[in-house]
C-alpha cells in the first residue's frame, strides 16, 4: 500500500457540520447493524421490563391500592416505561466502557472524524433502541389490560417525554461509562444510581405509602415528576406543573452531564 494522496485541507464550518452529521449517522448505523446481527442485545433490553410488567401486574399489583381509574395496571405502565427508558442507559455506559477498553475509541479519536461523533452516534443509536423498547412495552401493557385513556396525542407525548428523559439519563450514563471505563464497575455503578431513582419514586407505588423521610426524597426527584407527567398524559389529569418540573430537571441534566460526558470523552485514555 503506497500512501499517495496528500492529506485533505482543513474543512470549513459548513463542511464540518455536514461531516459531523454524516459521522454521527455512520456510527449509529454501525450500532444498528450490530443489533441486527446479534438481536440478543435488543432482546435482553426488552426482557427485563417485560418481566417487570408481568411481575408487578400479576404478583405484587393485587396488593397495591392506587388512586387512579382502571386500577394498578393503568398506574404501573407509565412507571415501567419511565424505568425502561432509564435502564436502557445501562447499555450506553457499558458499550462506551467496552469500546474504550478495546481501543475502538482510541482508533476513532486518532481519525479525522468529528470530535462529537462518537458520543452523538452512541446517543442516536441508543435513542432508537429506547424507542423500540418503549413501544414494545406499550404493546405488552395493552396485552395485560393497560389502555391510554386520554387520546392519541397525549399518548404520543408520553412516549416522547419518556424518550427525552431517557436521553438525558443516557448523558449521565455516557459520562459514567467514559469516566469509569471498566465494564463491570460501570454496570455496578449503574445499579447504584438507577435503582434508587426509579424505585424510590412514584413509578411503582403511591409515594404516600412510604415513610416520611423517604417521601421527602421521592417527591423531589426527577423520576417522580416525569412519571407523574406521563401518567397524566396517559390517563388524564393535571399536567402542567409536573411537566415544567420534568422539563427543568431534564434540561438541568443535559446542561450538567453533556459537557461532562464530552470532557470524559476527550480525556478518555
Amino acid at each position: 500500500m503506497t500512501a499517495i494522496t496528500a492529506p485533505a485541507p482543513a474543512p470549513g464550518l459548513a463542511e464540518r457540520v455536514r461531516w459531523g452529521v454524516s459521522d454521527t449517522l455512520t456510527l449509529s448505523r454501525r450500532s444498528l447493524l450490530v443489533w441486527l446481527r446479534v438481536p440478543a442485545y435488543l432482546v435482553f433490553t426488552v426482557i427485563q421490563p417485560v418481566m417487570f410488567v408481568l411481575l408487578f401486574r400479576y404478583v405484587f399489583g393485587g396488593a397495591i391500592p392506587v388512586p387512579v381509574p382502571g386500577g394498578y395496571v393503568e398506574f404501573l405502565i407509565p412507571g415501567i416505561i419511565a424505568q425502561t427508558a432509564a435502564f436502557a442507559t445501562f447499555g450506553t455506559a457499558i458499550v462506551l466502557a467496552q469500546e474504550l477498553k478495546k481501543g475502538v475509541i482510541d482508533r476513532l479519536k486518532s481519525m479525522p472524524i468529528a470530535r462529537s461523533a462518537v458520543l452523538t452516534g452512541r446517543l442516536v443509536a441508543d435513542t432508537g433502541r429506547m424507542v423500540i423498547t418503549i413501544v414494545i412495552i406499550v404493546g405488552v401493557g395493552y396485552a395485560v389490560g393497560f389502555r391510554f385513556l386520554n387520546g392519541a396525542g397525549p399518548a404520543v407525548a408520553m412516549v416522547v417525554l419518556a424518550t427525552v428523559f431517557g436521553v438525558s439519563f443516557a448523558c449521565i450514563a455516557a459520562f459514567t461509562g467514559l469516566a469509569i471505563g471498566d465494564e463491570e464497575s460501570v454496570q455496578a455503578f449503574g445499579m447504584i444510581w438507577l435503582f434508587p431513582l426509579t424505585f424510590v419514586s412514584s413509578a411503582f407505588v403511591p409515594i404516600a405509602t412510604m415513610p416520611g423521610w423517604l417521601q421527602a426524597f421521592a417527591n423531589h426527584q426527577p423520576v417522580t415528576y416525569v412519571v407523574d407527567t406521563m401518567r397524566a398524559l396517559a390517563l388524564g389529569g393535571p399536567i402542567e406543573a409536573n411537566l415544567w418540573r420534568s422539563l427543568a430537571w431534564i434540561a438541568g441534566i443535559f446542561v450538567v452531564f453533556l459537557p461532562l460526558a464530552v470532557r470524559a470523552y476527550r480525556r478518555a485514555a
Partner: protein, 351 residues
C-alpha cells in the same frame, strides 16, 4: 502544504509526560526519516505506549514537542490525524460485524463514497489475506486474523505515517511471522512506520533504526548492527536443565567473559559476552563447566542478539542504583521483561 516538504516524518524533541508521580516520559528525542521503519524497543512500562498516544494526538504532552509530517501534534492535531494510522495493542474492531463491514464503516468515516469504500475494503481484505473470511463476523476470526483486520482498518485512510503499538503481542508464533510479512510489505511500499515492541527479534527483523527506551528515556539508538557492536563481540550461550545449578554454571564461566554472565532463572538460559575470544573462549567454557560438573544443553557461540544489547544497556542502569537488578526494578513497581513475557533476573557472581 509547505510544512510537508522535506524534513523527517516524525520529529520528537524533549518530550515529557507524567501521570501523577509516575514519570512516563522523561525527555524523549527522536527523528524518523520518511519511508523508514523505527523500532521502539522497551520493556512494559518503559513509556512506549504513552509516546505513541502523544504522537497520535490522543494525549497531550507535558513538555517538549512532537511533529508528524511537519505538523505539531498539539496545535495542528486535526492535520496530523489526516496523515496517520494507528493500530493499538488490542484489535479495535467490531467483533459482531464482518471484516468487510468493519472496513467499510471506517472508510465511510473517512468520507469516501459508498463505491470507493467498498472497493478499498475489498482491496485491503485481499492484501491482508482475509478475502475468504470477508463476510464472516470478526469474532469468528483467529487472533492473528483479528490483528490483521485491525491493521487493515488503520490503513483505510492511506496514512503516510503508521503507528503500530506492539503489533504482535499475544499472537502465536505463526501469526507473528504472518504479521511480520505484512509489516515488511507496508514498509516496502514507502509508508513511514513507527512500531513499538518488547520483542528484540521483532525490532531486529523489521526496523531500519532502533531506539531503546527504558523508564521514559532513550538509552540507546542506532541500527540493529550498531547496537550489537556496542555489546562488542560474540556470546556464549547454553541452557542449564537443573535450575538449581545455575549459580555454579555462572561461576564457572565468569572468568571467561568480558562482562558479567546473565542467567534467566526461569528458562535456565545462561549467556556471557566473550568479545573477540571466539572459539578459544568456547573451549575454556566447556572445560570450566565440565570441571564444575554442570550438565548443559545447546552450548554454542553466537553473534550478539538485541537481547544481549538490552541486558547490557539496562544492566548498567540498574548497577547505578547500587542494587541488584531484579530487586531495584521491582521496588519501583516495574517489571523487568525482555524477549517476551518471561521475567529476567541477573544472577551476579562474587563482586
Amino acid at each position: 502544504m509547505p510544512a510537508n516538504t522535506g524534513g523527517p516524518a516524525i520529529l520528537v524533541e524533549g518530550l515529557t509526560k507524567s501521570f501523577g508521580q509516575v514519570h512516563a516520559l522523561r525527555g524523549i528525542d527522536l527523528s524518523v526519516p520518511r519511508g523508514t521503519v523505527l523500532g521502539v524497543l522497551g520493556p512494559n512500562g518503559a513509556g512506549k505506549t504513552t509516546m505513541v498516544r502523544i504522537l497520535t494526538t490522543l494525549l497531550p504532552p507535558d513538555g517538549g514537542r512532537a511533529a508528524v509530517e511537519g505538523r505539531d501534534v498539539v496545535r495542528e492535531a486535526a492535520a496530523v490525524r489526516r496523515s496517520i494510522g494507528l493500530a493499538g495493542q488490542s484489535a479495535a474492531i467490531q467483533e459482531e460485524l464482518t471484516g468487510r463491514e468493519n472496513l467499510e464503516i471506517i472508510a465511510r468515516l473517512y468520507h469516501l463514497s459508498r463505491a470507493t469504500a467498498r472497493s478499498r475494503a475489498a482491496a485491503l481484505l485481499e492484501q491482508f489475506g482475509l478475502a475468504d473470511a470477508a463476510n464472516r463476523p470478526a469474532k469468528t476470526y483467529s487472533g492473528g486474523m483479528q490483528r490483521r483486520l485491525d491493521l487493515a482498518a488503520s490503513l483505510v485512510g492511506q496514512p503516510r505515517v503508521l503507528f503500530l503499538d506492539e503489533p504482535t503481542t499475544g499472537l502465536d508464533p505463526r501469526s507473528r511471522l504472518g504479521m511480520w510479512d505484512v509489516i515488511r510489505s507496508l514498509a516496502a511500499g514507502g509508508t513511514t512506520l513507527l512500531l513499538t515492541t518488547q520483542y528484540l527479534d521483532e525490532a531486529d527483523e523489521l526496523a531500519d533504526e532502533i531506539v531503546v527506551i527504558d523508564q521514559g528515556q532513550v538509552i540507546a539508538a542506532g541500527t540493529s548492527e550498531e547496537l550489537k557492536n556496542r555489546v562488542g563481540g560474540d556470546v556464549i550461550e547454553f541452557t542449564v536443565p537443573d535450575r538449581g545449578r545455575i549459580p555454579e554454571a555462572v561461576a564457572a564461566i565468569a572468568p571467561i567473559g568480558e562482562g558479567e554472565p546473565h542467567a534467566d532463572t526461569e528458562t535456565g538460559v545462561v549467556n556471557v559476552g566473550v568479545g573477540g575470544g571466539g572459539s578459544d573462549a568456547l573451549i575454556e567454557a566447556v572445560r570450566g563447566l565440565d570441571a564444575a560438573g554442570v550438565v548443559t544443553r545447546g552450548l554454542a557461540l553466537r553473534r550478539p542478539s538485541l537481547d544481549d544489547v538490552f541486558l547490557a544497556l539496562t544492566g548498567h542502569a540498574a548497577e547505578e542504583d547500587g542494587q541488584p537488578a531484579g530487586r531495584g526494578r521491582a521496588g519501583r513497581g516495574r517489571r523487568r521483561s525482555s524477549g517476551g513475557e518471561r521475567e529476567e533476573e541477573k544472577v551476579r557472581t562474587a563482586s
